[in-house]
């Protein structure tokens, strides 16, 4: 157990440094969503409720998390392509320690995203300040697990050239199927059903309802949480299976 914590800690520290020293990852995970939050609020909030800060901020939190998939995947695929991971496979580190190492390195970034975009939301519109922000941050951690899990899965499957394209499916999915950029009223039943069964709208709903408050815990929090957790579980199960297989080629 002591070896598990030591090795996971060492891997986490290294992964965090790799990501923090990549200016592109900071631009896409932090700067771009921040600019979007401020810009979209000031341009559109008078025109539509969709861009009121209580709707926009949680949407931006989950949208920014979709980039966690890209940069987790990129880190792993580069580690694989340079044989860095192969070298570590010869050490005594186990597959689950590698996966925790990636996960724990990305979690502080997801917390930073939630805190930053909620705080900026509060600075833009003081009515947004609330102790419920803490609940929103907790919800953000839950939804970020999904995107990190997908990143580990894609990074284990794709090379560094294809990871961008594959991850963009998740970023696009989060943009189009979350309902954060446009109202969902009046959309076709089929499209709404797809949105309901996919994790993107549920992740956004979860964070939004936690930070803004909810009327009924079951449909507003528990159901979205179950759907997000189910996708997260599948993503991690697949990621662990693929990562293990890649560790020891048959």
């Amino acid at each position: 157990m002591r070896d598990f914590f030591r090795r996971t800690g060492v891997l986490t520290k290294r992964n965090l440094k790799e990501i923090a020293r990549d200016p592109l990852s900071l631009i896409f995970m932090i700067a771009l969503p921040l600019i979007m939050e401020v810009m979209f609020y000031y341009i559109f909030h008078d025109l539509t409720e969709q861009f009121a800060i209580n709707v926009l901020a949680p949407g931006i939190v989950v949208f920014s998390q979709s980039f966690l998939t890209l940069f987790t995947g990129l880190l792993i695929s580069v580690d694989r392509s340079t044989s860095f991971l192969k070298r570590l496979y010869v050490s005594k580190a186990r597959s689950h320690e590698f996966i925790f190492g990636y996960l724990f390195a990305l979690l502080p970034i997801s917390v930073l995203q939630s805190v930053l975009f909620f705080v900026v939301g509060g600075l833009i519109d003081s009515s947004f300040w609330s102790f419920k922000m803490i609940l929103g941050i907790a919800g953000g951690v839950m939804s970020s697990l999904l995107f990190i899990g997908l990143g580990i899965l894609f990074g284990s499957l794709c090379n560094e050239k294809s990871i961008g394209g594959v991850s963009s499916i998740i970023i696009t999915g989060q943009s189009v199927l979350s309902g954060m950029w446009f109202p969902t009223e009046g959309m076709s039943e089929g499209f709404l059903t797809v949105m309901k069964i996919m994790p993107f709208k549920n992740a956004t709903m979860l964070v939004s309802n936690l930070v803004n408050g909810f009327e009924n815990v079951l449909p507003d929090v528990i159901f979205p949480l179950i759907i997000v957790a189910a996708y997260t579980f599948v993503a991690f199960a697949a990621a662990i299976a693929v990562f293990k297989r890649k560790m020891k080629s048959k």
Binding site: R14, S83, R87, V90, K92
Partner: protein
Amino acid sequence: MIAIKTEKLRKEYKDLVAVDDLDLEIYEGELFALLGVNGAGKTTTISMLTGLTEPDGGDALVFGHSILREMNEIKSFIDISMQETAVARKLTVDENIEFYAELNGLDKETIKRVKNEIYESFGLKIVANKQAAKLSGGWQRKLSIALSLVTNPKILFLDEPTLGLDVIARRELWKTIKGLKGKMTVVLTTHYMEEAEALSDRIGVMKDGKLLFVGIKEEMFEKTKKTNVEDAFIEIVGGGEINA
């Protein structure tokens, strides 16, 4: 003492037999060069001995431990330097060494000592605070090999260590590899025949997964009636099986 003993070690990929019932002995403290053309089975052999690939048949004993059943024990006294440079790109040279040492459970005092030893033998001190990604190919390769020495392994596998390096960087690495002789068992695969000639105590030649020759250089020359490793190698791989 025998460091590595393979017994009918075998690896197949669909229709291809990558390693064909390999029987080989490598002795403790020697520098053993495994030669062969592309696809001869050298890297696959090393992959099986280091636990990166599971064999389809046979077994190998590494200091008496079976690669099938005791890989975890084996991992505590082996290390490998890959064909490709394998370093953490955004970490500095210093951080790379520290990371690898910590991952392998070295204490702070040992890490400090190991760092100094590596800086001295590889000349890495002058680039210690540079990110690995910003180093030239030669420096990155040096760091990659240096990392494999952090744990002071009993057996070091060097898979094409000088591939893609210029002649100066290659000669510098030769010096470093020569310095390891006697301190640990080194298994080297290479395409460069002059490298094998300059560095190795014994040579093994593989072709199509089979071991065609194993012995010292002089035996190789005697068997083939040639006077250098390159000509002897061509004679062996082109001229059929020659038993040592």
